[in-house]
């Protein structure tokens, strides 16, 4: 299969080359654009490694939300870049850090390449117990049944992350609307896209959540797509982000983790352990948790990109100035 080898070698060289360019790029904005291309290359790498769920997550996050986050940050930092460039550490220190990173990468590569063949794996055990959960996708089985505690903690930690972003606001602006996504163009292309794309996006997002039980997909990919659609609508100026004091939005943020914890606690009575599912109801409970988590993760991702709140007069001023 030398053609597969050629394709793999080409992908590896591209990924490494692009990574080197991103690291060496002088302006953060150009490097962020390179990083969006890097995310696309990584999607192909994940597909080549037969990790389709991860490829979907990379596609959903890398081309959508991460690009928005990094490009927005790079744009805000642009005035300070020259000063930062003057103050960066000297060549010797940078070479030392580079050698250290390369050593760690080499160590990781050695660990992976020197694994015994066949490598130790739990895949057989996962496949053996999967029918009991009613799921068909082993990734979802691991995330929602075998390692549900990890997923619970991950979903809970999103809320403090959002609170951290909100805490960057000033005292006076608490309660206002998030100010990073105010629309900044008055052309008609972006509002057109924001009117036509979200119906398909919402359909695809819901499909991903539902299909994640048996096929590659799941709540995180679905939530990333839904959040991307919401952010598109906000960036195009068709809807305003909700103020941070909005009670309904706060409820939606926590409904997922609360659902998860509630079902987990019920598992103590009904199935003998925290987050154990009673045998007959495993799949409906898992789907209920996934739906709740989709809502919460969508809200969190959207608000993470919307940024800290700004006071209402400043919000109006920003919107008017940019349009």
């Amino acid at each position: 299969m030398t053609s597969a080898l050629v394709v793999d070698a080409a992908l590896i060289l591209l990924v490494l080359g692009l990574a080197l360019w991103i690291t060496a790029a002088r302006a953060a904005y150009g490097a962020a654009v390179g990083f969006v291309a890097y995310g696309l290359l990584l999607t192909l790498v994940w597909v080549r490694l037969a990790a389709v769920d991860v490829a979907m997550t990379e596609a959903a996050l890398g081309s959508g939300l991460t690009g928005l986050l990094l490009l927005g940050a790079a744009a805000r930092l642009a005035p300070y870049e020259a000063a930062e460039h003057q103050r960066r550490p000297g060549l010797g220190l940078r070479v030392l850090v580079g050698i250290l990173c390369a050593a760690i990468a080499a160590g990781l590569a050695a660990v992976v390449l020197l694994l015994p063949d066949p490598a130790p794996s739990q895949a057989l055990a996962v496949a053996a117990h999967l029918p009991a959960t009613g799921l068909g996708n082993p990734v979802t089985g691991v995330l929602m049944a075998y390692r549900a505690v990890d997923t619970l903690l991950e979903s809970v930690v999103l809320v403090p992350a959002l609170i951290g972003v909100w805490s960057l606001s000033t005292e006076m602006s608490w309660g206002g609307r998030p100010g990073f996504l105010t629309p900044c163009r008055s052309g008609s292309a972006l509002p057109l896209l924001a009117r036509m794309l979200p119906p398909f996006g919402i359909l695809v997002g819901i499909h991903l959540v539902w299909a994640g039980a048996d096929d590659p997909g799941g709540k995180f990919q679905g939530a990333a797509v839904l959040a991307a659609m919401w952010i598109l609508v906000m960036v195009a100026g068709l809807r305003e982000p909700p103020p941070v004091s909005d009670r309904l939005m706060r409820f939606l943020l926590v409904v997922g983790p609360l659902c998860f914890i509630g079902i987990g606690a019920a598992g103590i009575r009904l199935a003998g352990a925290f987050l154990a599912y009673p045998e007959a109801y495993a799949k409906p409970l898992i789907i209920a948790i996934e739906v709740g988590l989709t809502i919460s993760v969508t809200a969190v991702l959207g608000l993470l990109l919307a940024g800290p709140p700004v006071p209402e007069p400043q919000y109006q001023r920003q919107s008017r100035r940019r349009s």
Partner: protein
């Protein structure tokens, strides 16, 4: 019958790949951002469209066809919008001020004497 369909697939996909090649060559060789954008949107429309057309006989049932065509339509929508957005972003700043709404442009936007052009 299936031989004819296979032949159709091979021809269409090959043409699509040629258009991708043309798009890349345009991206690398054209002199200016706006012309490169033009090359890019051709790869989007025709390259992907021909590939999707070629894959239609190979896909299963009506559901597979709908999926393939949906991908192409989404790529069309995105490509059209991206073309407008990026062109607006690289337009020279005095482009609006020098034109009256109905007059044809009397200076080409890519001409060397356009001032703040890279």
């Amino acid at each position: 019958m299936s031989l004819a369909l296979d032949l159709f697939t091979i021809v269409a996909v090959t043409l699509g790949a040629i258009f991708f090649l043309a798009g890349t060559v345009g991206l690398l060789r054209f002199p200016d951002t706006l012309t490169r954008l033009h090359a890019l949107t051709k790869a989007d429309n025709l390259g992907l469209g021909l590939v999707v057309l070629g894959l239609l006989p190979q896909a299963t049932a009506p559901l597979g066809w709908i999926g393939l065509i949906a991908v192409w339509l989404l790529a069309l929508l995105s490509g059209a919008t991206v073309g407008q957005l990026l062109a607006e972003a690289v337009r020279p700043p005095e482009w609006d001020q020098t034109r009256t709404p109905d007059a044809p442009p009397d200076v080409h936007p890519n001409a060397p004497e356009a001032s703040s052009h890279d």
